[in-house]
């Protein structure tokens, strides 16, 4: 009888122990980023930022007193290595994962994270389809998606250049280039049905030469040239276009050029529209006087010798979301270390702030992130273009409602919709 009682007591105490979990020695976080290949222009700064941010968090005592420990996976090594490494980290007890940059990898990782039952924050995923096609329990996106980003670009274009008549597009020939143009053109057709698309070019990803496209564009003389390209492709395109005078005759709309401003130097003249996949800018008009922002920017510049670009902001949002979720979950758990399910519950409707404006997570796990665009201007103290006429759009108004697909929703907008948006404008 005594034995039975003891056994019963033991059974009861086990679930109790699960509620008041012991704090682990460290919070293990796996981060996937491109450390090799062309997309390392994003991955390497993000890794540098993650290291600085983790150091800061740990110097302040860690998350709920637990230091975080980062492990990086190179997305450039291929999908097999990524998934194998991802599994290995999860099996070795990773508490949360931050993956991934490439849309293709996000689509591979999201179902995998769900099956492995590990919290996965998509910290830099562009594709809008993930939460539109499936529901996930463990996967969250701590930033906006292509739909929000393209719509903000269209809105800024219509506000600053209301009278343009013709547009041509030069995008990279892969999923991002195609998807972003689908959304952009659907929005344009809905909001400005009279605009004529005079040319659509999809040179191959990593193309070293755009001379032929530029000759063709010079012969066409469109009012607006859109390019959602990034990295080396964008640099080459803008340099070759500026050398041959195309930047004088057409206005360029470059939704990812914030990440190339410093490299482009004097090649990007004033008057062209620059975006940043969110409210990300090293001289963020609302954040530049905040102490935490200034301190981080100083550290980042000291470590890398460059200005922070948008993946750095996205990384800060990913880590901020993690910290905020654990804090919220611990509070709900009476100050004790939370279980995984409690952390997941805390992510619902979570508000957190990285280096930009605060971001909230919607019920479909989609992040609502503000969008910043500006117009390039040369001739400041710096040897490269900075932004003027900056507008920061409210993310909620630009994000596809829950349960709708982006291309259809964007296509259902009415002319004049742009005037209903909440916008904060800044001189520079």
């Amino acid at each position: 009888m005594k034995k039975l009682l003891m056994a019963t007591a033991a059974c009861v105490s086990i679930p109790l122990a699960a509620f008041a979990q012991d704090k682990p020695e460290s919070l293990k976080v796996g981060v996937s980023a491109f450390l090799t290949g062309p997309a390392s222009v994003f991955g390497v700064p993000a890794k540098d930022a993650a290291e600085i941010l983790a150091e800061d968090i740990n110097a302040a005592g860690g998350i709920q007193g637990v230091p975080i420990e980062l492990t990086f996976i190179d997305e450039g090594a291929g999908t097999e290595v990524l998934t194998t490494e991802y599994r290995r980290l999860v099996e070795n007890g990773a508490d949360a994962m931050l993956a991934a940059i490439s849309s293709g990898n996000c689509k591979t990782i999201a179902p995998l994270a769900e099956d492995l039952e590990v919290i996965n924050l998509m910290w830099d995923c562009g594709t809008q389809t993930i939460f539109e096609e499936d529901d996930y329990k463990y996967v969250f996106r701590t930033q906006a998606h292509a739909g929000t980003e393209m719509l903000a670009t269209v809105a800024y274009l219509l506000k600053t250049q209301p009278d343009f008549q013709t547009i041509a597009v030069v995008n990279q020939d892969y999923a991002w280039g195609r998807d972003s143009w689908d959304i952009f053109s659907a929005a344009l057709k809905a909001l400005r049905p009279d605009v004529e698309v005079v040319g659509e070019f999809f040179p191959k990803f990593g193309s070293p030469d755009f001379s032929t496209e530029i000759s063709r564009l010079q012969a066409m003389q469109p009012d607006i040239i859109l390019s959602t390209s990034w990295g080396g492709d964008l640099d080459t395109f803008v340099q070759q276009a500026s050398q041959r005078g195309l930047t004088n005759t057409s206005t360029f709309v470059l939704p990812l050029a914030e990440s190339s401003l410093e490299r482009l130097g004097s090649s990007l003249p004033g008057g062209h529209i620059v975006g940043a996949r969110g409210d990300h800018y090293w001289n963020h008009p609302e954040r530049r006087d905040d102490e935490d922002f200034k301190a981080f920017m100083a550290k980042f510049e000291e470590k890398t010798g460059s200005k922070a670009i948008y993946p750095v902001f996205h990384m800060s949002q990913g880590l901020a979301a993690l910290e905020a979720a654990y804090d919220k979950a611990a509070e709900a758990n009476g100050g004790n270390w939370p279980s995984e399910d409690q952390v997941i519950a805390a992510f619902e409707g979570l508000e957190f702030q990285g280096l930009g404006r605060p971001v909230t997570l919607r019920e479909d796990h989609q992040g609502i992130e503000a969008q910043l665009l500006g117009t390039s201007v040369q001739g400041g103290d710096l040897p490269f273009a900075t932004l003027e006429n900056i507008m920061i759009f409210d993310g909620a108004e630009l994000t596809t409602p829950v349960g709708e697909t982006s291309v259809e929703w964007v296509g259902s907008l009415q002319p004049g919709w742009v005037d209903t948006l909440t916008v904060d404008s800044y001189e520079n």
Binding site: L35, T36, G37, P38, S40, V41, V44, D173, E200, F201, F202, P203, K204, G206, P208, D209, S211, T212, E213, S215, R216, Q218, A219, G231, G232, D233, D235, T236, Q239, Q240, Q243, R244, G245, L246, R263, L264, G265, S267, S306
Partner: protein, 301 residues
């Protein structure tokens, strides 16, 4: 398509073909003589570009006039040929000539992988753009379209000069004749006392130098970043196979076909642009299995 557009497409095609030829001719030369398809050719191309950009940036920073960018290109090409190409042949490739062709090819593949990482360790991951040479020459206006003098005039001139120079070198100089003899029949050449080792070393240095020169000439026009070498290799392979093994004139003609095909594709049907080199290659090989200028090898029973 009217005449103006036709001419514009023609100019773009020629400018592009010039660069393709300069890179591919080195690969053709190495393949013709050594029967090694050098995958590392792409790395040598990339390193030539990186080196030129670094040297030019250094010179501009030192306050010298940008005209010195042109000597930088030559210096880079020579350095790539002599400092990297030479030791590669001497230390690695020389040990595997008696091994099956597939092993030789894989050695160059391994070198390619190693050099890809070496580039990143030396030059980092951020794209580099150094267009001092291109800006110096300025623009020329044709049918209300601006072209850079560098791409429209200088590159084709260099390509033609290279073609004529190589022809002269191979047909009229002793070293060149030794190379041709070895290309035609390696065993017979050795039998009459040609030092094949020396010929191979010389060929590889020249071929590697040409890859470096291609990179150097491309560097002012494009962003230099990890991965540019891999793209160039596949294109060069297509040129070599379409032209026929070791055919320098064939390489020139193929480069022109690919360049024109690509630019006309952009004007007529942009979506097919990527396919052009492969379609040309398949079409040529279906009609002429030995390549445009290749001749069927004698059979040994």
């Amino acid at each position: 398509m009217n005449l103006t557009l036709f001419l514009l497409a023609l100019f773009d095609g020629i400018a592009y073909a010039a660069l393709v030829f300069i890179v591919a001719v080195g690969l053709t030369l190495i393949f013709g003589v050594m029967r090694i398809l050098n995958v590392a050719h792409g790395s040598l191309y990339a390193m030539g570009a990186y080196l030129t950009a670094s040297l030019t940036t250094f010179i501009v920073a030192a306050g010298l006039p940008p005209i010195f960018a042109f000597p930088c290109m030559l210096v880079s090409a020579v350095l790539i040929g002599a400092v990297i190409g030479g030791p590669l042949e001497w230390l690695l490739l020389r040990r595997i000539y008696h091994k099956p062709e597939v092993l030789q090819l894989l050695v160059t593949f391994a070198i390619f992988m190693i050099l890809e990482d070496v580039q990143r360790l030396v030059w980092g991951t951020q794209p580099i753009f150094q267009s001092a040479a291109l800006q110096l020459l300025g623009n020329v206006r044709v049918f209300s379209v601006n072209y850079t003098v560098y791409q429209l005039i200088l590159l084709p001139m260099v390509a033609v000069a290279l073609l004529l120079g190589l022809r002269f070198f191979l047909r009229r100089t002793v070293a060149g004749k030794l190379i041709v003899a070895t290309t035609e029949d390696r065993e017979a050449a050795q039998a009459i006392g040609i030092d094949a080792d020396k010929v191979f070393l010389l060929t590889f240095i020249v071929g590697a130098g040409l890859a470096g020169l291609g990179g150097a000439l491309a560097s002012p026009t494009t962003s230099i970043l990890p991965g540019i070498g891999a793209d160039m290799i596949v294109l060069s392979f297509a040129v070599v196979a379409t032209a026929g093994l070791g055919q320098i004139e064939g390489a020139a003609l193929t480069a022109l076909l690919i360049g024109l095909g690509r630019s006309f594709a952009v004007y007529v049907w942009p979506e097919t642009q990527v396919l052009v080199p492969y379609l040309i290659m398949v079409a040529v090989l279906l009609v002429r299995p030995e390549g445009l200028f290749g001749s069927p090898a004698a059979r040994k029973i």
